[in-house]
């Protein structure tokens, strides 16, 4: 059964230095508050898995929390580059970052294999591509029935998966809707799962085929309203496109980035304090 605890407790007790962690959410429901709590608690040597690293992993990478990144598309959606990711790959700053890159199809299949407790996933792709030459985790197998050559990737089994969702009930059952990405698979593939939610309600009122993650598949549920900002939570708030654009300037320069992280994350006690300070910074810039 999931414990309903604070985000600080959840990250403190469930995410350890050196862990392999997947913080998923395909543009929607990205667990930013949880990523920032990992920075605040100074997690180190993490292997980060995420289809689209997005600004959440740009922050973790720039803050020095990661030793390796497993991903399939590493840009700032609608804006351009992830400058902290690029600085780590191109210039080893703040430390070298090992990368293992995939395509969306194979990484999403790898989560499915993890959830299904299979050793690998199989798909029809990569013939002719140079990616398999640089990623020993993309290989080829022969179909035992037809002889067709197919691509294979090992299952993903994170130590910890972190997602954000709209609702939980008081027992810790979680409901999410809208663009679901690979969140369900990432939770079921993980040893431990943490879910931050917009609200905790008496009754989920979920229709029969809704995406519900039962409490007993989760380790912790944390009530963190706004915890997906600056991404969005369908039915609650929109994507903060201005922040994604502002991140381009914040992240471009090492000094500016470090000051931003210190002021907004390291020097704030939790996500609501972070939001308060961020609002003040945004107002200052508008004046």
């Amino acid at each position: 059964m999931a414990e309903i605890i604070s985000l600080r407790e959840a990250i403190g007790s469930l995410l350890r230095d050196g862990d392999t962690v997947a913080m998923e959410g395909f543009t929607h429901l990205i667990p930013f508050a949880a990523g920032q709590e990992a920075i605040r608690q100074g997690r180190k040597d993490l292997t980060l898995i995420r289809m689209t690293p997005d600004v959440i992993y740009d922050q973790l990478i720039g803050a020095g929390c990661a030793k390796k990144l497993i991903f399939s598309w590493g840009g700032n959606p609608g804006v351009g580059s992830l400058h902290r990711l690029r600085d780590a790959v191109e210039k080893d700053w703040p430390k070298p970052l090992e990368i293992q890159e995939h395509g969306h199809g194979d990484l999403s299949n790898a989560y499915v294999a993890g959830a299904a407790n299979l050793p690998f996933a199989v798909l029809r792709a990569y013939a002719g591509s140079e990616l398999p030459q640089h990623n020993k985790n993309i290989r080829f197998v022969e179909c035992p029935f037809t002889g067709e050559r197919l691509a294979a990737v090992p299952a993903i089994r994170p130590d910890v998966t972190v997602i954000h969702a709209q609702k939980a009930d008081r027992k810790g059952n979680v409901l999410l809707w809208g663009i679901l990405g690979v969140q369900k698979e990432a939770v079921l593939a993980a040893k431990r799962a943490i879910v931050t939610v917009e609200e905790i309600v008496d009754n989920l009122n979920a229709p029969p085929n809704a995406c519900v993650l039962p409490s007993w598949t989760l380790a912790a549920v944390c009530h963190v309203p706004g915890g997906a900002r600056p991404s969005y939570a369908h039915g609650y708030y929109d994507r903060d496109n201005r922040f994604y654009q502002a991140w381009d300037d914040i992240s471009r320069d090492r000094e500016v980035f470090l000051n931003w992280i210190k002021k907004h994350i390291l020097d704030t006690e939790d996500f609501s304090a972070f939001q308060r300070v961020l609002n003040e910074s945004t107002k200052e810039q508008l004046v």
């Binding site: 395909f26 543009t27 929607h28 289809m51 991903f71 399939s72 598309w73 590493g74 840009g75 959606p77 609608g78 580059s81 992830l82 990711l85 690029r86 790959v89 191109e90 890159e101 995939h102 395509g103 969306h104 199809g105 194979d106 999403s108 299949n109 989560y111 499915v112 798909l123 029809r124 792709a125 990569y126 013939a127 002719g128 591509s129 140079e130 990616l131 640089h134 067709e148 050559r149 809208g178 663009i179 679901l180 990405g181 690979v182 369900k184 698979e185 969005y232 369908h234 929109d238 994507r239 496109n241 201005r242 994604y244």
Partner: protein, 261 residues
């Protein structure tokens, strides 16, 4: 040509949109492909089915998405499925007619690079990476590529082959046994290219109005071939331009950007 009342980017977007037939099932990349696909939906192809890799099927966005998973895509889609399902059942399942992609680099056999500029281990520019492109390039029945033409983008040799077009040309793709037929057209701001039937080398099939062969050659990193007959692309119709500009305008307003004048 100086009297043209449209930009070369508008010409490119309109020319790309015209390639999408009404009713086609189209797997759409973000950026130019998404703009062109939605322009098609709002003009000649109202029944086109737009699939985005984040999960929406039959998306009908009111404004262009800034990210591949904007809420508007889900809100107005026929259905929204998980990302594994999009790739497993819908794309690999053989239900996608056209994969619509951009690229950072392309070679003469329409192979594309979206991974790195320079050496893979020590790149001079780290690009975002593959995304869904390798699987789309493999499995969509045909692929249409849209990108601006320049010698930096149209190169003799890719720095990295992310997603396969026709590999070394001829029957090389066929021998790989991929289910999709490969790229059918490359649309740029200067022209429209199609693969030669036998060699699969990209060949200029149409020149956009006012564009010369010399301009196309100058913007290409290899000696570009022209079809025996190279008609001029029809200039954007008034209706196409109006719908495109309206779409871009309300998109800019919705995303809090300053609309272009």
């Amino acid at each position: 040509m100086s009297a043209a009342n449209y930009t070369t980017t508008e010409m490119m977007t309109v020319a790309a949109s015209r390639l999408l037939k009404n009713g086609a099932v189209c797997f759409v990349g973000i950026g130019l492909p998404s703009t062109a696909a939605n322009l098609a939906r709002l003009t000649h192809a109202p029944d086109i089915v737009l699939i985005y890799e984040s999960g929406p099927i039959g998306a009908k966005p009111e404004v262009l998405p800034l990210s591949i998973g904007d809420g508007d895509l889900a809100e107005r889609a026929d259905t929204v499925v998980s990302t594994p399902e999009i790739f497993r059942y819908w794309l690999q399942g053989g239900r996608v007619d056209v994969g619509f992609l951009g690229a950072a680099q392309i070679d003469k056999f329409a192979n594309i690079n979206t991974t790195v500029i320079g050496d893979y281990q020590k790149p001079s520019t780290r690009l975002p990476g593959a995304g869904g492109a390798p699987e789309i390039a493999s499995c969509a029945k045909e692929v249409v590529l849209v990108l601006k033409q320049s010698p930096r983008a149209f190169v003799k040799k890719l720095d990295f082959l992310t997603s396969v077009g026709y590999l070394d040309g001829g029957d090389a793709r066929k021998r790989l046994g991929l289910p999709g037929n490969g790229p059918s057209a490359v649309v740029t701001d200067l022209c429209l290219m199609r693969p030669n039937e036998a060699t699969k080398e990209l060949t200029v099939a149409q020149l956009h109005p006012g564009i010369t062969r010399e301009q196309v050659q100058k913007a290409t990193g290899w000696e570009i071939k022209f079809a025996a007959n190279v008609p001029e692309t029809a200039a954007p119709a008034e209706n196409e331009l109006r719908v495109l500009r309206d779409l871009l305008h309300r998109t800019a307003v919705a995303h809090g950007q300053t609309p272009a004048a």
